[in-house]
Symmetry: C2
Subunit: 165 residues, 2 copies
């Protein structure tokens, strides 16, 4: 189980994704203005960028988000992290398990409620996270170059609104 899994392989092959033969001659009709459609395509593109940029860390987007949250909020329980990130508890277990197996995070029983596990990062986790953040930074920078700083923050604002539509 090296860091070079299908995820990484996929990321490698993504660089050359769409190359419409004749210059965009196809009429997408109203589809072109569907927010959902544009969102999906944009999300796939950025995901590809993520996988390419963070390949060496072996972190999935979900794993990175978890590391970030427990780094900013040490001692949170699993349920709290799930709630914050919109992850189902059932899906969180294996995700966390891998972080634990790689020695990036630890899970310890909360004495006050022995059902709950609180989460913390290991020093190794901190290292990996900071490396991942540095790599991620480049991705965001590329995005900012493309959208402009104002465009980027405008985009974030609009996306936040969309989440509660």
């Amino acid at each position: 189980m090296s860091a070079d899994t299908a995820r990484a392989k996929a990321a490698r092959s993504l660089t050359v994704r769409s190359a419409p033969t004749s210059a965009g001659a196809v009429d997408l009709g109203p589809l072109d203005g569907f927010v959902g459609y544009r969102l999906r395509r944009a999300q796939l593109a950025v995901l590809a960028g993520f996988e390419f940029a963070l390949r060496e860390t072996g972190l999935s987007p979900g794993q990175l988000s978890v590391l970030l949250v427990i780094s900013c909020n040490p001692g949170m329980t699993q349920s709290e992290v799930c709630a914050a990130l919109g992850i189902r508890r059932a899906n969180f277990t294996p995700l966390l398990h891998e972080l634990e197996a790689r020695g990036l995070a630890i899970r310890e029983v909360l004495p006050a409620d022995r059902r709950s596990n609180t989460l913390r990062m290991t020093p190794l986790g901190r290292d990996v996270l900071s490396r991942a953040l540095a790599l991620h930074e480049r991705l965001e920078r590329r995005i900012t170059n493309s959208l402009g700083a104002a465009g980027r923050s405008q985009l974030l604002h609009l996306l936040r609104k969309l989440e509660s539509v």
Copy 2:
């Protein structure tokens, strides 16, 4: 997923215990400003809206996009549609198969190149499509209400740029 399904239930159930203040008290740190993260969350939300709004049509987002494209460009080949929509040919086959099985689209061999199939809609397909578009319209309207017309078109513009980052 409807607007009020697991997502909403989960959100509801997270009214947390030891959360310092109210529900949104968790600090996401830099994650909050990750375009990829916001994109993913927004995309899931809009997807949920789509599935809720178009449930009665039984169309997936991908199927709707295909119907739209062949409605605007009758006679396109499968490969052309794939290229226009960013779908792998291998994944297109079963998708199209369902449209055909439901009698919404037909596939006929192109005489000039008997490997290729050209795609067309059936009258039933046209009916379903127009119904689907009407339903989808409402979803877009909800989005527009939330973002404002200017915000919405700004968003589309930014998302289009993101696709080629």
